[in-house]
Amino acid sequence: MARATRRIGRKRRYATMLKKAAQLIFYRRHMEPGVKGWELRRRLGSDYPKVVALLDEYLKSIGLTVKTVFEGESPPENPAIDQLDKARFYITLREELSLEDMKFIGWRIDDLAGLAVSLAYIISKGGKAPKKDVESLLKTKLPEWRVEMNLSRYLRMGYLMEDENEQLYLGWRARAEVDQKKLIDLLLEYEI
């Protein structure tokens, strides 16, 4: 009897934590969406990775997932708790999008292709490329005015970052939303 009560209490606690975790990750409170691991720890306690895993499982049924973006270039295979604390957690779409879906989320095909070109080029150059080179590549298929407009949009949205030497890097959003390895592999495999 006592064991059953304890189990119900634990379930209720996790259900509450699940709601809290969803609110923390869904609602934007800073410049960037998502939440840092240490913020989750502060609000949910030290077993927040378990709550995140439960939330991910729950979101699966509606086509969403919890994406963890670690510091550094390559994600660790078995992340330690301090690596999780420093990581950022986002909720992203779990499934692939189709060309039809794209219209509903407000992207033109040219803009999306431009983003693909910019990101793939930067990834192929090891994560950093001169802005001029990216611009000249985009100008082969897009009018000049659109290239400038698109690049500033990608920068504003966090897909790209620029330094004082006019070098472009992958931004926080690209790291959270784009499967870099898959993008490069698919491009190389694509039959023309």
Binding site: K67, S98, S124, P130, L137
Partner: protein, 270 residues
Amino acid sequence: MTSKRSHRIAREELRRIIEFCRVVENRGLNPFTVNVNDLIAVIRSYFPSLKDPEDLSLDAEALNRIASIIKMQSEWVKRRATSLYRDPFLIEEKLRRLSMQDLAKVFLKTWHPIVELEQVTIGSLRMAMDYWESLAPLSERWSEEELLKVMTERTTREDLVRQGILRDEAFLSEIEKMWKELKEAVRSEGRMDYWDFIGAESYEETIRRAYLTSFLVTYGYASLEIQPLEEKIFIKPNEKPIPKTSSQPVSFPIPVDYERWRKWRERRGE
């Protein structure tokens, strides 16, 4: 003549090395096109003849650039060893040849946009209402601002004592203590930089010393030497206090602002 020429050549060579490394770094070119050993040999050969600080800083910058190239080489090797590495030329070729439609199709397979909410919640509405209720009307807040306006006026010694900038002890004995300190500080040189004399660990102490120093000069214990072109002010102790009765007193304002004090501290490396 030969020495001047060799200096010029050394400078040109160093600048060429810096520029070359900068191009490789900024354009993301293959860092292994740089022969680091050759460049270091060149720098080493010129180093003994470099004397001017300008030349030495060029030499340091060239070394710094080479260090960046070595770092790039290390990253280059690391990247090639990762599973993500693919030939950049092949990728660029694909990017040029694929149509916009195909590029978008490929990208959509790898893109999982972030889902986020930016709507108002009951909790945030309640907080906003509480804030609004506790917010004073604009007219009240503006009138409070006006009350803060004060007229500038002269500071008296009594005010400074009250504010704790000056200690409440015999003023003249404090001035004489500073005079003695100044005489000891200048030693054989006869004068010292004004800021080096008044500057102290804290900004408050610096203000206090600047205030007392102004009396040192006014009462004739010391005099100022101002070099307007070099923007330098020196303070010189007098052997005996010189009463300034014969000439018309001149007022010379010296700003002792926080920024200037901070720079002085940085210059002193504290």
